[in-house]
């Protein structure tokens, strides 16, 4: 490993989720959501088993609202769901414990936030065919508490040691943590998720203005792409801060809603600019850990 960690001190603990059923809002707005232009729309949204969208696919163009690639899990117990959402880290191994796909292994690829609060997992498509809503999946959670001793300003969140290792991190000549990314999201394009928790959940790129998205080089994003969050400090929640910088992974697809778009699961943050994103052609967790 190119950057020192305290990974040998991390505890490996089980958390369990059940494959979630898709949910729809009740009357009277039922079942429509509103687009950024005020058009009611009815589309598949987050959760469930998604057979034909996977990490590595485009984040745009699906007829869906913040679609989760692969399989999504949660549990009804609110405090327990917090444990599931916070302790699960991208790259952790998961195993199906019940149902026809019992014993199949998968990988955590992201999390979703307020109003959803699910953990998103990759399983191969043949396994998805065998799964049922309600199947129990245990995640061998490991990563919360991880530190980089040589980069004390960098906080690591929701990131497994395996993903950290695969990211091929280096240190720049001026002592910053160099992280390969596909793009940097400017702060005015970060929307829903601001002010909310950064140990789990999501923060969304807002895509209502296609020109601004293209200008920032964000119009070709794929699910699983690693990106930087410019001028955002996610140390204790997500918020605007000059000089701060974050790193995250695109975990959910685009959305027609105002303030929403591809959802990011935060992996690292430095309030004082201790991360130097290195823009690279392709940095996707499909290639790194799947």
């Amino acid at each position: 490993m190119s950057v020192k960690t305290n990974a040998d001190k991390l505890v490996n603990i089980s958390v369990m989720g059940e494959i979630s059923a898709p949910a729809m809002p009740p009357l009277p707005a039922s079942p429509y959501a509103l687009s950024s232009e005020g058009q009611p729309f009815l589309l598949p949204a987050w959760g469930s088993i998604v057979y034909n969208v996977s990490v590595g696919d485009t984040a745009y163009g699906w007829l869906a609202d913040c679609i989760h690639p692969g399989v999504s899990v949660n549990i009804k117990d609110g405090m327990g769901n917090n444990g599931l959402n916070i302790l699960s880290c991208v790259g952790n191994v998961a195993m199906v414990m019940t149902g026809n796909a019992k014993g199949a292994k998968g990988t955590v690829t992201g999390k979703s936030g307020r109003f959803s609060e699910q953990v998103i997992l990759h399983f191969d498509q043949a396994t998805r065919e065998q799964m049922s809503i309600g199947d129990k999946i245990v995640i061998r959670a490991k990563g919360v508490g991880m530190q980089l001793p040589d980069h004390p300003s960098v906080k690591v969140k929701s990131c497994s040691p395996e993903l950290l290792d695969a990211l091929e991190l280096t240190t720049t000549s001026d002592g910053k943590l160099a992280v390969p990314v596909v793009a940097v999201v400017p702060p005015h394009l970060l929307g829903a998720g601001a002010g909310l928790a950064s140990e789990g959940g999501s923060i969304h790129i807002q895509t209502a203005d296609a020109g601004a998205v293209k200008e920032a080089g964000l119009d070709q994003l794929r699910l699983g792409d690693v990106v930087a969050l410019g001028e955002y400090d996610s140390s204790w929640g997500h918020g605007y801060m000059r000089g701060a910088i974050g790193i995250g992974v695109i975990a959910q697809g685009d959305s027609p809603r105002a303030g929403y778009g591809p959802g990011i699961t935060l992996l690292m943050t430095s309030a004082t600019g201790g991360i130097a994103p290195q823009i690279s052609g392709s940095v996707n967790i499909k290639d790194l850990i799947l």
Binding site: G191, G195, D209, H238, M241, R242, A258, G259
Partner: protein
Amino acid sequence: MSLATNADQLVEMAVIGFVSQPTMRPGGYIPSSSGEAVVLPGMSGFIYNARVGDNAFGWAADHLEPGASTAHPELDKDYAMHYLTCIGNKAVITSGMAKGAEGIVTGEHARMLVDFAPEVGEMLCIGDGVQIRAKGRGLAFTDYPGITLKKCSPELINAIPLIETADGKISVPVTMELPIQIMGSGAELGPDFVDQDLMTGDRQLMADLGIDQMKLGDLVVIPNADHRFGRGYKPGAVTIGLCIHGDSVMIGHGPGILTLMTCAEPLIEWRIDPHANIANYLKIGTYA
């Protein structure tokens, strides 16, 4: 000069909430943007010593809600109170020692915020009924269909010195401009529900831009913010907001900005006026 509206078509309807008890999570701590754990008051109850018109910054408080904060214990009725109540609506206390006293709605956070005179506040008990004469939903400018009004009572619209410009726009007085990149918590909510916090974690930026001089009740402008159907970034859009609650120590949070007017195209202009505050326009709070 007041602009033509459809106010004579509006329905006036009663909604009721009850003065709410402050609540805390076990432990009570919230993390500050610099990572300190703090315990602070601010939300719910009645704030005896801060009113609309007072400073939004500088209190040893988090999300300070001026006046009385009211909620309804049944969720659907609480939503009705949230969605129907407009800023400037009249409220009357329906029970307890202050029964019959009148106030004015000044904001909508997780609770409705109602300004009462200090002597009324001293008689308030947690749980007292506060009935609001909700009026303003559906209000629109007759001649400006491109401008959407949200949560504006006719009384508030008539009290704000709006000017029709020569090029077919309206000019609104505001105390300051807020850059779009500091608009934070609340982006995940619809614009017809509560407010969106500005993000004050960058304290030096707040001082440099004078944002830390904001008062509760100030009218502010957010250029490039489209709040018609969400709270998002749109170049050229304009949103006029109202500061309803005080600053926060938490990253991504700060004074709450409630949407009053919004347009997707640049149909609203603004002029800086340090007295652009609803306490001034409605003669309440520190201007009473």
